[in-house]
């Protein structure tokens, strides 16, 4: 009986420590530099390359239309009979240019949306896996005014999302 009484405080202390450890583990908080995660995410880099390729193709089409319109303009200056053709080509060029600018905006918005969607999903997975209660995002809006460097998990999250994006696991 004496032995049991002797061990009782130690057992209680051990239980308290386990409880504290458990609650600490379940109340992890972290913050990330949003711009660093966004810029370093491999999907964003892949989509950026796709966007550049798309823009280059569109620009080549637009450049040749512009050249054609300029040539028609020169011809119209010399001979008024070509004026109608020039007006048609000019209108077509501006129409295509406006269409191209709309397309560029749409593609850019779509790619941004895709990057954010995957980032959110992968951050959720990272949070669940590493028992985070919440992960704050530091950006220019100033919602997060201060956070200690120990809770900065930018590099961990970035490594995780890039590994997940590669589809290794």
């Amino acid at each position: 009986m004496k032995k049991i009484i002797h061990f009782l405080p130690w057992t209680a202390l051990l239980l308290v420590l386990i409880y504290v450890g458990y609650t600490q583990r379940n109340h992890k908080i972290g913050w990330v530099e949003l711009s660093k995660v966004y810029d370093g995410f491999d999907l964003r880099k892949d989509l950026e390359n796709k966007f550049i390729a798309f823009g280059t193709t569109q620009k080549q089409v637009l450049d040749s239309l512009e050249l054609d319109t300029r040539m028609a303009g020169r011809k119209a200056k010399v001979n008024k009979a070509y004026l109608e053709e020039f007006e048609y080509k000019k209108a077509n060029y501006f129409e295509q240019k406006a269409k191209f600018e709309d397309q560029v905006r749409e593609v850019r918005a779509s790619y941004d949306k895709q990057v954010m969607l995957q980032l959110r999903s992968l951050s959720k997975k990272f949070g669940n896996k590493n028992h985070y209660v919440f992960i704050n995002g530091l950006d220019e809006s100033g919602i997060l005014l201060y956070a200690s460097d120990e809770t900065n998990i930018t590099n961990d999250l970035l490594a995780f999302v890039n590994e997940e994006y590669k589809g290794i696991h």
């Binding site: 892949d46 989509l47 895709q114 969607l117 995957q118 999903s121 997940e164 590669k166 589809g167």
Partner: protein
């Protein structure tokens, strides 16, 4: 060595072999199915937004055994042909069909399924080292909104697939606006797979 051979030949429990990381030499069709399903490295999964993408490697050997043709006389170089089953399902816990999760503006149900039937295959490719292969075969399994998920069977072929490099199935998803999704498979998965004993 003798013991190893005896174990391989006598052991019919595919899951047990998986658990110890041994590839069996020969299996019956049902055992083969169990073996592929119980091996976690055959399948990769990603949950993006409201949609879950699963990519499962289907050995050509197994696919052939499912065919009604006489497969005993058919010759297939299983090193140069690989099949994957891509399943697109609504997020876990959802009771809706995948079409209900579909949020692309301006596309109705028939356009959605037409896109899956005829265009979606163009956005799936396999990278094998420095080679990028387009789908050699693409089958969309239509569930007529009875099943919550959508299944696609894609096949890739080429001599370059013999190279022992990681193989990545990439989906350039423009339908659910999820972006590029990659599923990387270990080259070991494609090597020395068992043969099916025809019943």
């Amino acid at each position: 060595m003798v013991f190893y051979t005896i174990v391989l030949n006598s052991c019919t429990n595919a899951s047990l072999l998986n658990s110890v990381g041994i590839k069996p030499q020969e299996l019956s069709k049902s055992e083969y199915e169990t073996w592929t399903k119980s091996n976690p490295s055959f399948s990769k999964e990603k949950e993006i937004g409201k949609v879950v993408f699963e990519c499962r490697y289907i050995p050509a050997e197994l696919l052939m055994s499912m065919q009604t043709v006489d497969s005993t006389n058919a010759k297939l170089d299983t090193d140069t042909i690989h099949f994957f089953k891509i399943t697109i399902s609504p997020f876990k816990g959802s009771k809706e069909t995948v079409y209900a999760q579909f949020n692309k503006a301006g596309m109705n149900e028939s356009d959605f399924f037409n896109h899956l039937n005829f265009e979606y295959g163009n956005s799936i490719y396999l990278t094998n080292g420095s080679d990028t292969l387009s789908c050699a075969s693409y089958i969309f399994e239509r569930g007529y909104n009875l099943a919550p998920s959508i299944s696609l069977l894609v096949g890739f072929t080429g001599a370059c697939l013999k190279k022992q490099v990681p193989k990545t199935v990439a989906i350039n998803d423009d339908l659910f606006d999820c972006g590029i999704l990659k599923f990387q498979f270990d080259p070991e998965l494609f090597r020395n797979n068992p043969k099916i004993i025809l019943e």
